[in-house]
């Protein structure tokens, strides 16, 4: 039976190679050109035309014969293209289309149900493929699409899904004619900020029309803290500005109180007036943090009746409060070289903000001049030790006698200041320690040393680095113990010290090897803890020898003085890098359902890694103080341990770690983490039909609202036609007429040339 051919096309059946055909064609053209040249001088236009025409027709006839044209009969079939239908399966589709309405997912299913007949008509030319998309693409059955999707995806990212459609797989060689996207338009991926240059190009690069169907265009009642704009860190005692972006939808007119809390404590409160015509509001807070550390703050607004989402009414964030400079108060009893070198050092240290007061004249001194001839100012005792004391990170008394200035009433303030986290240093001299009468005062209670009732000793001595001082951060002049020991031994001898003994719990870092007090070598440098604060006692007034004398007599610049004081200040103000236990959360702000991870680093009393230390880690609710979880770990060789602390609910948490080694407490550290109240997907109620409309415009697709119940206008490419099976060639060159034309034209030209006198 003859095959059914339903298509044809013209083909060349000549067996000769292409180059030969081209050459012959060129010869034919040359034949016409040469004839035209030969007829240039012919005056008769008629003759010229006739001869040239005969030559041209004969060349064409010759070519026709040479090329052997024919007709190829074909049997073909039409292949259906693909049409992808993408349905939004993210969590935002669970939101109602309007207040009290059905869910967006239900509206999408209803639309699909209504357009099913129209889709079936398209199936004649297009193969329909159904997909669910959120942050990825999953193929689904048509029945599942029409029946309604569960919509649980935690984020929406449409653009990668469209790329996956156009880029992946051969699909049996069938091309993608277009896509239809049904969703609410929310996107938290590449299209989060709408269509920009790059995303626009990406959509155009798909080279298919994307038609869109918008669901959920109605107003949904909701109030949300959309975002909080704040720097990652703030400086203590400096004003911090925080901006909360509030979104309101279908809330009517309302005064909404917005509260900023730090771990349950109200820091600041503002009110914002919400109006129906406005959607976005900015609420600004400013406050001054008075404590360094990392804290979880929460911005929240009340939850009103009928709101679509309650969990987006608060948002937590972590703010790190750091010290910009160490604010230091230096009070000096009398000018001396010891004070001179210390002040110069502190004044030139960019990390120190120094306030100093020197007693330049005592009541016994007689300047022999009137007050107006002096540059002296009153010593503002109450201002400093009552009002301003807490503003300092560190207070230093250098050979300062408190009694003449009636400071008895203020010494308890200083003790309380230290116990609440401040730092205090007493430097020796004839007015310090017991000689200054401090032993029976509140300051004496917090000092790490106490007098023994012996007068200051003026003998020259070489301070000795103790076992505790060998690795203590303050007395680290070199990295290894041997080098550190050698560095201290090279320093000059010191003349004189206040004779004291260390109290229980104090650490003596340097001592006088030839002088005992209370059965132990007299301390030269001792440190201790008092409440939450730290204290240091330097019982000599000659530490300045470690500067100019060490440099001058040592032959080269000595940095010992600078290092000791720099180390001391860092230790006294609890530089985080010097704490024995450091806690670092892997993320400070995590999504709900994500686990909390932390790394704990423990250092021994010698500040080396505490390998094998026992670490107890607790996850504590920052607002209630309740411990939610405890884990125990052993530190590895490098002193670190990793721990997972479960998946707590939304809120602010502290991760507190305590470490001990061989029964000895090493210390405690903490970090903070905020668990978001809701994922971005579940807290953003606003549908974005505008984005869907733009996507359709850019790609050449159509747009409709789901409520229209219609398919969007789609300019789809027609299906491809492909050859199937047989083909048959029928030559047309082997008819008689081309040869006849060739002969007639050639012969006629020859005859006329002869007649008209051409060779």
């Amino acid at each position: 039976m003859e095959a059914v051919y339903n298509d044809w096309r013209v083909v060349l059946l000549s067996p000769w190679p292409t180059w030969l055909l081209v050459l012959l064609g060129a010869l034919a053209v040359a034949g016409v050109v040469l004839a035209a040249r030969g007829l240039r001088k012919e005056r008769s236009g008629v003759r010229k035309t006739v001869l040239l025409s005969l030559r041209t027709v004969s060349m064409l006839a010759a070519l026709f014969v040479i090329l052997e044209p024919g007709v190829r009969l074909l049997q073909t079939a039409q292949v259906r293209s693909r049409l992808a239908i993408l349905i939004d399966g993210s969590a935002s589709m669970q939101l109602p289309t309007e207040a009290g309405g059905t869910s967006r997912a239900a509206e999408a299913a209803a639309w699909l149900s209504r357009v099913t007949p129209a889709l079936q008509e398209l199936e004649a030319n297009y193969s329909l493929e159904y997909y669910q998309y959120d942050d990825g693409l999953q193929p689904i059955e048509a029945s599942a699409a029409v029946g309604g999707l569960p919509s649980t995806g935690e984020t929406t990212d449409l653009l990668p899904s469209l790329r996956a459609l156009t880029g992946g797989g051969s699909h049996g060689g069938r091309k993608l004619a277009g896509a239809v996207v049904i969703g609410d338009g929310t996107d938290h991926g590449e299209l989060k900020a709408g269509l920009g240059g790059a995303t626009r190009k990406a959509l155009e690069g798909l080279k298919i029309p994307v038609s869109t169907v918008a669901v959920g265009g109605g107003a949904v009642k909701d109030l949300a803290i959309e975002a909080v704009v704040v720097e990652d860190f703030a400086f203590v005692r400096n004003t911090v500005e925080i901006e909360a972006k509030v979104a309101a939808s279908a809330m009517g007119t309302l005064d909404v109180p917005v509260v900023l809390r730090r771990e349950g404590q109200v820091v600041s409160q503002q009110s914002v007036r919400v109006d129906p015509g406005e959607r976005s509001y900015s609420v600004k807070f400013s406050f001054v943090p008075d404590e360094i550390g990392e804290f979880v703050f929460t911005v929240s607004a009340p939850v009103y009746e009928g709101e679509a989402i309650a969990s987006n009414n608060s948002r937590s964030f972590v703010l790190k409060v750091i010290r910009d400079r160490v604010r230091t108060l230096l009070v000096v009893g009398r000018p001396s070289w010891d004070q001179r070198f210390l002040r110069t050092l502190l004044k030139t240290d960019p990390n120190v903000d120094l306030i100093s007061f020197f007693i330049l004249r005592t009541p016994q001194d007689n300047p022999k001049a009137g007050e107006t001839e002096l540059s002296l100012i009153p010593f503002p005792v109450q201002e400093i030790f009552d009002r301003q004391l807490k503003s300092f990170d560190l207070v230093i008394f250098q050979n300062f006698a408190y009694r003449p200035y009636r400071m008895d009433a203020y010494l308890p303030n200083i003790r309380r200041y230290v116990e609440e986290g401040g730092a205090f240093v007493m430097i020796g001299g004839e007015s310090s320690f017991g000689e200054g009468g401090y032993d029976l005062t509140p300051l004496g209670e917090i000092l790490p040393v106490e007098p023994v009732g012996v007068a200051p000793n003026e003998a020259l001595f070489q301070p000795r680095l103790t076992e505790a001082g060998l690795r203590h951060p303050i007395t680290q002049l070199a990295s290894s113990a041997e080098a550190n020991q050698a560095a201290w031994a090279r320093l000059p001898e010191l003349p004189g010290l206040n004779v004291t003994r260390a109290k229980p719990g104090a650490r003596v870092l340097l001592d006088q090897p030839h002088l005992t007090a209370g059965g132990e070598n007299a301390p030269v440098l001792a440190v201790g803890e008092a409440g939450r604060g730290r204290v240091m006692a330097l019982t000599t007034d000659s530490s300045w020898f470690w500067s100019i004398v060490a440099s001058g007599e040592g032959g080269s610049t000595s940095r010992a003085y600078e290092r000791v004081w720099s180390n001391a200040i860092r230790w006294l103000v609890r530089d985080p890098e010097l704490t024995p236990v450091i806690v670092r959360a892997s993320q400070r702000s995590i999504e709900p359902g994500q686990p909390v991870f932390a790394t704990i680093t423990a250092r021994g009393s010698d500040y080396g890694p505490a390998a094998g230390a026992e670490i107890e880690v607790s996850l504590i609710d920052a607002e209630t103080g309740n411990t939610l979880r405890k884990e125990r770990r052993s530190a590895g060789v490098d002193g670190t341990a990793q721990v997972e602390l479960g998946t707590p609910q939304a809120g602010a948490y502290k991760i507190v770690a305590r470490a001990s080694l061989a029964g000895q407490e090493l210390g405690e550290g903490f970090d903070v983490v905020a668990v978001r109240a809701a994922s971005v997907e579940r807290s953003d109620v606003q549908a974005r039909p505008g984005l869907l409309r733009e996507i359709a415009e850019v790609t050449g697709g159509g747009f409709v609202e789901a409520s229209s119940g219609q398919l969007p206008p789609m300019d789809l490419a027609p299906p491809d036609v492909v050859e199937v099976g047989r083909a048959k060639d029928r030559p047309i060159w082997d008819r008689f007429w081309p040869l006849v034309i060739l002969a007639v034209c050639l012969g006629g030209e020859w005859v006329l040339r002869r007649r008209w006198g051409y060779p």
Binding site: G333, R334, P335, S336, W337, D338, Q339, R340, F341, R343, T344, K347, T348, S356, F357, F358, I359, L360, R361, T362, P363, Q364, D365, P367, K368, A369, E371, T372, E373, L374, S375, L376, I377, P378, F379, P380, V381, Q382, A401, R403, P404, Y405, R406, G429, E430, S431, E458, P495, G496, L497, D541, S542, F545, S547, I548, V549, S551, G552, E553, T557
Partner: protein, 284 residues
């Protein structure tokens, strides 16, 4: 601010009642600013001294040792290095009397290349003629001394040639620097007293010159024979007349000396913001 506290606490005034703390008297010398005549009887002085010693209670606080106090070092060199032998002693006394600084009554004498210099960060150089060219050892030592925190006061007791030579030599000690005029509003002139002019025994040059190390004035050079105004013999007589201002100029010379000592110890303390309003008010 509590007014009572203000009145009491004038950077150290008014001790608690009933506790007038006796003052240390350096060297046990009782000093007054009025010169005693050579004809005053020895017995009178002896009685005064005895009374002072009797009345001086024991057990008051003293600085640990000499390095805890301000100790002047007189620099020794080849030349007339000590033209005003009693000047520093008298200045130390005045400083100890007028301010809270604890001074050692006797100065120390050290060579300019002595390593011991570093234990005494205040060096005084005086002369009546040009300072001889410093040796390499002296230059190196002084350079390190000044760079590491030392302070130098050069005092010309002659015709100005000592001051000029000091400026030349210190420029070698501190390469890349030249002597500069110390401006009238420099903190040196308000470190304790409010001083308007750098007078000494003379007012040959109405300004001081100096060299800085960083922001600190490390060298001060006077051409006005400060020591000549300070010098006082053991009988209590001023050794040199002061001109043109007479005894009031001598008082200003002492005030400048006190200021220089105070500056060497406190540097720019009086330039701290907290002091400025008070100083401005008093200067008006």
């Amino acid at each position: 601010m509590d007014r009572r506290a203000t009145l009491r606490a004038n950077e150290g005034t008014d001790p608690a009642p009933g506790r007038a703390r006796p003052r240390p008297r350096p060297g046990g010398r009782a000093g007054t600013s009025r010169p005693l005549h050579r004809s005053a009887s020895w017995s009178l002085r002896g009685i005064a001294l005895a009374l002072t010693l009797v009345l001086l209670p024991a057990g008051e606080a003293r600085a640990f040792g000499e390095t805890s106090r301000l100790t002047f070092v007189q620099g020794r060199y080849d030349g007339n290095w000590n033209p005003r032998t009693s000047a520093l002693r008298r200045l130390a006394f005045e400083i100890g009397t007028r301010t809270s600084i604890s001074t050692l009554p006797e100065e120390k004498v050290l060579d300019l290349d002595s390593p011991e210099l570093f234990r005494y960060p205040f060096l005084y150089l005086a002369g009546t003629g040009p300072l001889p060219t410093l040796s390499q050892a002296q230059t190196d030592n002084l350079r390190r001394y000044l760079t590491y925190g030392g302070f130098l006061l050069c005092d010309d007791a002659g015709d100005g040639s000592f001051a000029a030579s000091c400026e030349r030599e210190i420029a070698r000690v501190l390469p890349g620097q030249e002597a500069g005029r110390i401006p009238a509003d420099h903190v040196l002139f308000k470190s304790f007293f409010l001083v308007d002019q750098p007078a000494g025994r003379t007012l040959a040059r109405p300004y001081l010159t100096g060299f800085t190390e960083g922001s600190r004035l490390a060298v001060v050079i006077s051409a006005n024979d400060l020591g000549g105004a300070w010098a006082r013999d053991e009988l209590g007589s001023w050794e040199y007349e002061v001109a043109p201002g007479g005894e009031s100029q001598r008082e200003f010379a002492f005030r400048l000396g006190v200021n220089i000592a105070m500056y060497s110890l406190c540097t720019d303390y009086k330039d701290d913001q907290v002091h400025i309003p008070f100083i401005m008010k008093r200067r008006r």
